[in-house]
Each structure stands twice: as C-alpha cells, then as structure tokens.
C-alpha cells in the first residue's frame, strides 16, 4: 500500500534527523534537525488520522517553540564548533539514565496490550469534533487544570522577565 511507503519514509526522516540533532556540531543545525523531526512526527499523526494533533503539533512545536529556540541560539551567537569537554562520570551517568528510560519504555509497551487498529483511517477520535467532545466533556477538569498551570507559568515568566523590583 502507498501509506506503507510514506510510513517508512517518515520514520527514516524522523530517526535520521533525531540522531543528527545529537551529532551535529553547530547548535543551529541541531535546532533545525529537531524541527525536521517534529515535521516527520506530524506526518505520522496524519497517517494515524489525527489531523488536529498533527496540525497543532506543527503550530506549537515547529512554529512557536522551535522558532524561539532558533531565536535564542542566534541571539547568543552559539556558533562555535566546539566539543565541550565533559567529565567521564557525566557521560557514564547519562548512559545509565538513558538505558533506564529505555527499560521503562519497553516495560510500558510490553505490559499493555496495545489495540492496533487495522485501518487508521477508520479511527475518528483524531478529528476536531470528536476530540473537542472528549476534551470538554470527559476530561474537562484536567483540561482546565492544565490551562491554569499554563497561566501560572505565563505569570511567572512575566515576573521573571521584569527587570525592576515589584
């Protein structure tokens, strides 16, 4: 099927660019590869018929957060191609932590019996109408709590950003 090839293409792009985020020397290139990863993942969402999630993913992550990342990296002029010498123990700790995360992820996916839909085009949950129904009826309280959390973060950011004492 045609979608199978798209899936493999998107997966290749996502994996390659995710690895390149770590391997590129220039911070700007890392940021741009991360953006590419986000686009590939948005493509996966579309394959799963979750259009709303895909487009919000692009608007929020690729369109706003990564632009701010790029903005900061450009403004700080972090264009030195240097390999920052990190102590050996940090590297060891990082490897152990990464492996632990991997184990947890494998544990999650082994424990659950994930229902794999035969044809993702038939699942309608990703469409705006159904998502809105679920979000505003079934999960109203968590949704509102998340909004309050965002508001708090926004107020905090403004407070920290203000130069003079309040």
């Amino acid at each position: 099927m045609f979608t199978k090839y798209i899936f493999f293409f998107l997966s290749t792009v996502a994996l390659y660019s995710a690895i390149m985020v770590l391997l590129s020397r220039k911070p700007i290139h890392s940021v741009l590869y991360l953006t590419l990863t986000f686009f590939a993942i948005a493509g996966h969402y579309i394959l799963l018929n979750a259009q709303f999630l895909a487009v919000v993913h692009v608007i929020v992550y690729a369109g706003a957060i990564m632009v701010l990342f790029l903005f900061t990296v450009m403004l700080l002029n972090l264009n030195k191609e240097e390999v920052s010498p990190k102590p050996v123990w940090i590297k060891i700790v990082a490897i152990i932590a990464g492996c632990l995360l991997m184990i947890v992820l494998i544990g999650i996916f082994r424990g659950y019996d994930i229902a794999i839909e035969k044809d993702p085009a038939l699942t309608q949950i990703g469409l705006v109408k159904n998502l809105g129904q679920v979000l505003y009826k079934q999960y109203l309280l968590p949704f509102e709590l998340a909004s309050i959390l965002f508001l708090t973060a926004m107020v905090g950011a403004v407070l920290l950003g203000k130069k003079e004492q309040i």
Binding site: V55, V58, M74
Partner: protein, 342 residues
Amino acid sequence: MGSGFIIYKFILASLILIISLVVAMYSTLIERKMAGFFQDRFGPDRAGPWGIFQPLADGIKLFFKEEFMPNTADKFLYILGPSLTMLIALLTSAAIPWGGDMVINGKVYPLQVADINIGILYIFAIVSIGVYGIMIGGWASNNKFALLGAIRASSQMISYELAMSLAIIAVVMMTGSLSLKDIVDSQKGINWNVWYQPAAFIIFLVCAFAECNRSPFDLPECETELVGGYHTEYSSMKLGFYLFSEYINMFISSAVMATLFFGGYHFPFEDSLGLSPNALAAVGFLVLFIKITFLGFIFMWVRWTLPRFRYDQLMRLGWKALIPLAIVNIIITGVVILIKQG
C-alpha cells in the same frame, strides 16, 4: 482513488501554482504603478505599452545578475533560506477553495486541492513556519544586519500570529467548522462574515500586513536601520525569491481574507441567475479574483500611504491593542451566540 483523481488534482495544483506565480509577477508591476499614482508620477512605462513587460525584464535581470555568496556564509543554509521561503509561500494555496463544484460528464470536480476539515488550522500552521526561511537566510549570511532583520522578523511574526488566530476564532465560532469550504458556504449571497465580524476583519488585516512583512510593519527589511534587512547579503535570483515570495504571500493572504470574510466565490443573487453549475463555478472564480484584487489594492494603498512603525510601537500594538481586542471580540461573539440560541 483512481488515476483520474490523481491527474485531476495534479492539473488543479499546477494551475493554482501557475496562477499564483503570474499574479505575483504582475503585482510587482501594479505595485510600482500604484506607487507612481500615489506619488504623482508615471511608474514603469518603458518596457512595452503601459510597462506591461516590466516584470519579465525584472525577472531576466535577476536571473542574469552575478551570483555572490559571502565567504563566511553557511553554504547549505544560505541556499535553503530563499528556497524555503518560496516553498512555504506556495503551500497555503492548497486549502483555499477557488470556486464551486465543476460537473464534467456527471462527475463532480471541486475547485479546491484539499478540503481538509482543519483547513484554517492548516493555514495557520503554514503561516507559523513561514518565518523559517527568513530566519535561516538571515542567520546563514553571517551579517549583523541580516541577523537583526531575521530576529525582528521572527519576533514580529510570533507576536502577530496570536492576534491573527484569536481574530479567526470568532469567525470559526459563528460557522462551527474549521473547514474553509464550510466557512465559504455559510456566507452564501451577501451574508458575508465581514458584516458580522468587522473587528475580527480589521485585526486580521493588520496582522496580515505584519505577517507579510509589508509596510507599515516592514521592519525586518527596514532600509534606514538595517541596510537591507534579512536579505542584505543576497543577490541575483536568491534575492528575487525573497522579494517574489512577499508578493505571493500578499496574494495568498488576500485570498484567505476574501474566503474568510468576503464570502469567497459566492456573490449576490447567484441562485436566481439560472446558470449551469460549470458557468457558476467560472463566474465564482472570477468574483473571488475581483475580491482578491480589491484586498491586494488595500495592501498597496497602505504601503504607499503610511510611514513605517518603530519596533517598540509595533510590539505594543500587537500585544497591548490587537490581542485584547481580539479576546473581547471572542467574548462578545460567544455571548451573542448564546443569547441567539436562547
């Protein structure tokens, strides 16, 4: 989904691509003629009658100019910048309904490349990634002025995207759908959204100026402060791509505004004319074009009338005037809809 479907979509997409390019090409001429009119002079009138070949002459000039790339530039990103700008500018047209349904041999052919049920969000997604081309180009040229232009462009676009999206929410609330086709069909006849949502239209228009980097918000390329802005180091057709994509953006945002607020391809008394569906679709396409031309004229009118804003004024207008206005507009719309429902 047979091969006929793919061929039809391919033809439609190519046609829209060609139309966008030709319109953008000739809007450069119209822009200069307008500038001439507003400044009481003729504008370009040497190449052909009424300067009709001027865009061709400009294109040829840009193609044959010397290609210059700074030594210290990041080569790949330097080329990626203008290409990305052009690509993203052309992407938006896929979701816009350009006309009603054509019926050929009993088959229905909608004049829209993709009727996705999140059409308006798709357009926002494209708008929000539109800044990458400018940022990448500005940074890759390794020039302080270009970098400043790129940074200005990014913060300006992020700020005005918010007000733009909030302005559209009121329209979406009235229609109850995110699909552009549904939004257009809810404005049949003269039942245009602009009569119900004038505030949203004004906010959207102002944000569209800012998103297209058009005057009075053309700070990313402010000549008096930044030499040439983000495209200071660009020459030849790469510069041409940057300048050209501005006109494509202008055309597409006029089309989006015509779709959202001016009823798209609908026009008054269309049902009482007794036209066949095909003729109606053709007339609808022409009507949409007249609306786009009018909105494009507003873009040029404003550019040659108003002086440039200062950067802090731009930010203040975006965050402290347009966003609160848009939120108030949403609240009022919500209250009115609730009262109407009883």
